[in-house]
């Protein structure tokens, strides 16, 4: 249970960054931290103590394996995170070019 709480703490560190930071890059990094925490939480959830990785090896006796389902879904999620990070970075580049600042409090006119 303490592991879950630590993982949630990591998520909350990301939320803290989103709430209090004003630099565009810091906001992107906060989102990345939240993504790490969620991925790690899902994989923690599928771990089975003393089990092996979910790959069937020839000749070896089939022992207990960890849950392959969260791993497969987290694999998907990691790849999508990379795509969204790239999209965020592109948007941030455009914003910085237009407003010449990284400070989101100075970017007021979002309508053109």
């Amino acid at each position: 249970m303490i592991l879950y709480i630590l993982c949630f703490t990591l998520f909350l560190v990301g939320v803290y960054g989103l709430l209090t930071k004003r630099d565009l890059i810091k906001l992107i990094l906060s989102l990345a931290i939240m993504g790490y925490a969620v991925n790690l939480f899902l994989v923690l959830f599928g771990y089975r103590s003393g089990a092996a990785y979910p790959i069937v090896t020839e000749g070896a006796a089939p022992g207990p394996m960890v849950d392959p389902l969260p791993q497969a879904l987290v694999l998907t999620s990691i790849v999508i995170e990379l795509g969204t990070t790239a999209l965020l970075v592109a948007l941030a580049i455009r914003l910085v070019e237009k407003y010449k600042t990284f400070d989101i409090h100075k970017i007021r006119r979002l309508f053109g």
């Binding site: 959830f45 979910p54 791993q71 790849v79 990070t85």
Partner: protein, 182 residues
């Protein structure tokens, strides 16, 4: 040492790394600290018996760092402006988040304990994966056979994200080259 001990260590390390990444003023150091946190996730995946995920996370980390550094550090290098955000606001945020953490502890008590997953759907995958799909790696059996439509959706999302990125960056290039104001 048991797996739990290693994971405590790695998770504590990651929390410290994230706080440093958020609080440090220099943007390059901040990006590097995030990279260290991501590599911590990769090592944690190795301890959790997920080698595929560890490899993918490692690659993700490298790509993300290349994108972030290429995009921000070269041309627009800057220190974070000293925050004018009032200390009261930061204090209130921290207090609220700590309250959320404390209030959520009973929820974690309801979850199955670490090391004893439910594995109701997955039992079928583990038992019949090899004979159903012929894939020795059960993770790829789930991704590419049992849940192939999910993967199709993932590829669609990724394609859309890449398309959006290309479009946004190309508007900029056309604007810079043509000299027209959009």
């Amino acid at each position: 040492m048991p797996v739990e001990t290693w994971l405590y260590f790695i998770l504590g390390f990651m929390i410290v790394g994230s706080v440093i990444a958020l609080e440090i003023r220099d943007i390059l150091s901040s990006v590097v600290a995030i990279g260290v946190v991501g590599l911590g996730v990769s090592v944690a995946f190795l301890f959790l018996q997920a080698p595929d995920l560890a490899i993918v996370q490692f690659l993700f980390e490298i790509f993300a760092m290349v994108i972030l550094i290429r995009a921000f550090v070269k041309k627009d290098y800057h220190m974070e402006t000293p925050a004018r955000v009032h200390g009261i606001l930061v204090g209130v945020s921290i207090l609220t988040l700590v309250a959320v953490l404390v209030a959520s502890i009973p929820v974690f008590r309801l979850l199955p304990a670490f090391g004893e997953p439910l594995m109701e759907t997955s039992r079928h995958y583990v038992d019949h994966g090899l004979s159903d799909t012929g894939a020795a790696n059960l993770v790829s059996a789930v991704i590419l056979d049992y849940r192939a439509y999910d993967t199709l959706g993932e590829v669609t999302v990724l394609f859309t994200a890449v398309l959006g990125t290309m479009t946004i960056l190309r508007i900029r290039r056309a604007k810079n080259g043509g000299g027209k104001d959009a």
